[in-house]
Symmetry: C2
Subunit: 229 residues, 2 copies
């Protein structure tokens, strides 16, 4: 379970203070699929970086399965990330000198959960599941924008995470690839009970979830459950 | 005027050949506003890089105002880019160590068309026109995804180009920012007769144009004029 209580995040630009999050509170229960929406610059990525244990709040509390992240050290944070979380960055964050296959194998190298042959097999299967079976040896610069995004999605799946956090996972995709990716998230959520939280600015994408949290100026503006689909 | 005739583009991955464009032909007349759509990996960015004189075709001809680009040297290509074209990259391509203001000033430094004070003034005005008047001193890492995209759009406007080429210019933007950016392009097109060509995978965005060219597997699939709006 994810539990966020009065989380703030302040960036300093010399003397100037930027309050990206100004007191955000909500819970996400195991097995939920939730969309986060909000205007450009409203704090969505800042919030996702905290949920993904990539950054810590300035003040407030963030608990993941009853463990408090705000007071953890770097080693413990890395352990939680490797064991529990699959993350898709808004800017993809692929390593430019590695192939698609090597990029997708990387999280399994960090977690040490699989041997060499199994890493290769799982990474190949994940890339095939996002329609990139014929691009395994391409480096990021040899892939289109949408293909790079799909590599980033495949990478988030390989460690069998219990939570998938994705920041605009379909932003660079056409409507067909979008449906394919959402189908993967829905299947993981429905069949394996994996918690999925993703940011989107497209209403038709958010409508695949049963709950939509809207943020504006660093605060939760609304938190609505959609009627059953 | 832009005139593309039987343009192909082939990438080599060791022994393997990737035919990103397989023979594309069309014309865009001065003052048109055209959308390019197509599935992920269909060749849109490859085509835009050629239109933007950033890359040359493998075979075929590309003429811009009756000058053949396919046989130009690098210096002549840079001159055409600086004088005629404003380009918005799908991956933004902002320089990480420069502020938003300095990134937007950069094209004017290359073209040498304006003095220091005027560069500062034009860059500030362009950033204000995309809603970033309060983020001038932020570096790319201190901006949200949508804010970075808007910096890239502001940068494409400052040299008073006669052609604006934008690769998914609203991909990272919420619906409000999307309308603002499209409004800027429409105003430049309608009031100043600037030719605008942009890639999008969102139908509502493409509907702001009177013409939609669809590509698939490196070929033009359709080229339709929309009835008057
Ligand atoms: N440098 C390269 N080397 C090898 N293949 C490449 C290279 N650049 C692009 N490709 C391939 O060429 C094809 C066209 O890529 P392009 O970037 O033009 O697609 P796109 O239509 O812009 O897709 P998207 O909507 O995902 O951005 C893709 O299949 C891609 O894998
Ligand atoms: N390192 C930083 N230093 C200063 N300000 C920052 C930094 N990172 C983000 N910001 C500011 O914090 C605010 C929130 O940014 P965030 O990236 O969370 O927005 P977002 O909701 O994800 O927007 P988008 O939809 O454009 O991706 C923005 O106004 C941004 O300028
Ligand atoms: Mg963001
Ligand atoms: Mg592209």
């Amino acid at each position: 379970m994810i539990k966020v209580t009065e989380v703030t995040k302040t960036y300093w630009m010399g003397e100037v203070e930027v309050n990206a999050l100004r007191g955000v509170s909500f819970e996400v229960h195991d097995g939920e699929m939730v969309a986060i929406m909000g205007p450009s610059g409203s704090g969505k990525s800042t919030l996702m970086n905290i949920l993904g244990v990539l950054d810590q709040p300035s003040t407030g509390s963030y608990q993941i399965d009853d463990e408090e992240v705000a007071t953890m050290g770097e080693t413990q944070m890395a352990e939680i990330r490797n064991r529990k979380i699959g993350f898709v960055f808004q800017s993809f964050n692929l390593l430019p000198r590695l192939t698609a296959l090597a990029n997708v194998e990387l999280p399994m190298l960090y977690s040490g959960m699989f041997g060499r042959a199994e890493r290769h097999e799982r990474a190949t299967a994940a890339l095939e599941s996002v329609g990139l079976g014929d691009r395994l040896d391409h480096k990021p610069k040899e892939l289109s924008g949408g293909q790079q995004q799909r590599v980033a999605i495949a990478r988030s799946l390989v460690n069998d995470p219990s939570i998938i956090l994705a920041d605009e996972p379909t932003g660079a995709l056409d409507s067909h690839s979008t449906e394919e990716v959402l189908g993967i998230f829905q299947r993981l959520n429905y069949e394996q009970g994996i918690t999925v939280v993703f940011v989107t600015h497209e209403q038709e994408v958010a409508d695949h979830c049963r709950r939509i949290i809207r943020v504006r100026d660093g605060l939760v503006e609304s938190d609505k459950y959609l009627p059953d689909q």
